[in-house]
């Protein structure tokens, strides 16, 4: 029986979809069977981030309304053996096209066949958010070290605590800028965690490669040497119950020769 996690944030643009895709691929690389559900009805992205857009035939609304069988709609990512699947969202429907009970039913149908079900929530706290949390056993709240994002995350944690999920919510602080941490201008990560009062699942650095890879339809996790990749992989290990210490955030030293040749 699998466990379902909703990836949510309240605020838009903090990296929910990127986080979902990277945690999903990291778990799949560790041999777990993972299915990613895109619940951003009408503004789907997860398919594009994974480079699977052209393989969409049926979507989650087709499944929920009985137009398609679940196995017809699931898209297998061939790069990860039999371990990573995507259930896409429709692009031409409204958030109201889906009800929370229908999402819960789809998740229940997936649980026997998968170890992890990751629900990528849309921004906001309306119908789309309610749909996403309806099927989840636990929540991964994504925020960035900015006052606006932390404030929205706080609101979302409150809503999640009211929804009686079986697992406590966990926090990912995304887009941490090493040079700002270095020179002391960034919001303190410990302060953010303490303020929100939930367990820290991971700290992801702001890395250009995350965007570069995503534009190619790949996740940064597929590059084993990248700093953000290592951090996502550690998140996956923590979800699997391992105790992994946080990697220190250090700015890359740019020496004279580097500056000279990499302008």
């Amino acid at each position: 029986m699998g466990t379902s996690y909703v990836v949510t944030s309240g605020k838009g643009g903090v990296g929910k979809t990127t986080t979902s895709a990277n945690i999903g691929t990291a778990l799949a690389l560790r041999g777990k069977r993972v299915v990613l559900l895109d619940l951003d009805i009408g503004l789907r992205n997860l398919d594009a981030v994974l480079g699977l857009s052209n393989r969409i035939i049926y979507d989650i609304v087709d499944v929920a309304t009985g137009r398609a069988k679940l196995r017809q709609a699931l898209i297998k990512d061939k790069r990860f053996d039999d371990n990573l699947y995507l259930l896409p969202a429709p692009q031409n429907a409204d958030k109201d096209a889906l009800e929370p009970e229908q999402v819960a039913a789809v998740v229940a149908e997936l649980k026997p066949d998968f170890d992890f079900i990751i629900l990528d929530s849309p921004a906001g706290i309306e119908q789309g958010f309610r749909n996403a949390i309806a099927g989840a056993d636990g929540a991964i709240v994504v925020t960035t070290p900015e006052v606006s994002a932390v404030s929205d995350a706080d609101r979302v944690v409150g809503l999640i605590e009211q929804s009686s999920m079986s697992l406590p919510p966990k926090l990912i602080i995304n887009r941490v800028r090493p040079h700002m941490v270095q020179n002391g201008t960034a919001m303190d990560v410990d302060d953010v965690t303490q303020h929100l009062g939930i367990d820290l699942l991971g700290l992801i650095t702001d890395d250009d490669d995350v965007i570069v890879q995503s534009n190619k339809g790949e996740t940064v996790v597929m590059d084993p040497d990248n700093d953000a990749s290592k951090r996502y992989r550690n998140v996956a290990r923590r979800l699997l119950g391992e105790t992994v210490p946080l990697l220190p955030v250090t700015a890359q030293k740019t020496g004279f020769w580097h500056k000279l040749f990499h302008r």
Binding site: G42, R44, A48, S53, N54, R55, I56, I57, Q91, N92
Partner: protein
């Protein structure tokens, strides 16, 4: 002139309802006629074709007509025909026979639908789709989903540059276009085995000759 005329032909019996007579008169005469005929044919099932000329019966009138036959179990109406069709139905038929022209920018999530053939001169973005019951001729730039013969017309084709599209669909079949499976030709058609095939568009003349012979076909 009689409101109802019975005619016999090699196909069976036809009841012609006079288009100028009132429906009440028709109903009265029909009731008498059927009663008379039923008495004269003691056994065997008889089915009638009812034709209404330049008149379309309303749903209510059709029910009244059917009710006349209810008392005579060996008699039945096999077909109800008219020389005319409803204006809406006629307009839909005309639209389906027409070649449509579509253009402009079709954005992600937008879904163009046409009855009949379409010539597309615009830009179809990824996540957008164009669907036609007939064939689609791409002159513009398409990156989304191109669906000809929607939902079940296997004779439809897609002609044009399909190298950058996400999917080509014909009737109920799908071809996903990617690096491993590129669009190998500027014509996509469905073969007799219900498989999607690509070919150079010059072969359209042989594969779908009727497209070039619209008058004969429609």
């Amino acid at each position: 002139m009689d409101a109802v005329v019975l005619k016999a032909s090699s196909d069976g019996f036809t009841l012609r309802l006079d288009e100028d007579a009132s429906f009440e008169a028709i109903l009265a005469q029909l009731t008498d006629l059927i009663a008379h005929l039923y008495a004269e044919t003691p056994e065997g099932n008889v089915s009638f074709t009812v034709t209404t000329g330049n008149r379309l019966l309303t749903e209510d009138q059709r029910q009244h007509l059917a009710a006349v036959f209810d008392d005579y179990p060996r008699f039945a109406v096999s077909a109800l025909t008219a020389d005319v069709v409803d204006a809406q139905v006629a307009a839909a038929k005309v639209a389906a026979a027409r070649t449509h022209f579509a253009g402009g920018v079709v954005r992600s999530g937008q879904d163009l639908r046409y009855e009949g053939d379409v010539v597309f001169t615009g830009v179809l973005h990824p996540g957008a789709s164009i669907k036609a019951t007939g064939s689609i001729f791409l002159l513009g730039h398409a990156e989304g989903v191109v669906h000809a013969g929607f939902p079940d017309n296997a004779r439809a084709v897609v002609v044009g540059d399909m190298t950058g599209v996400e999917q080509v669909r014909l009737a109920d079949a799908v071809a996903i276009i990617d690096d491993e499976h590129p669009a190998a030709g500027d014509l996509c058609y469905m073969d007799d085995a219900h498989m999607l095939n690509f070919a150079p568009s010059v072969q359209l003349r042989q594969l779908r000759p009727w497209i070039f012979d619209q008058v004969e076909d429609k």
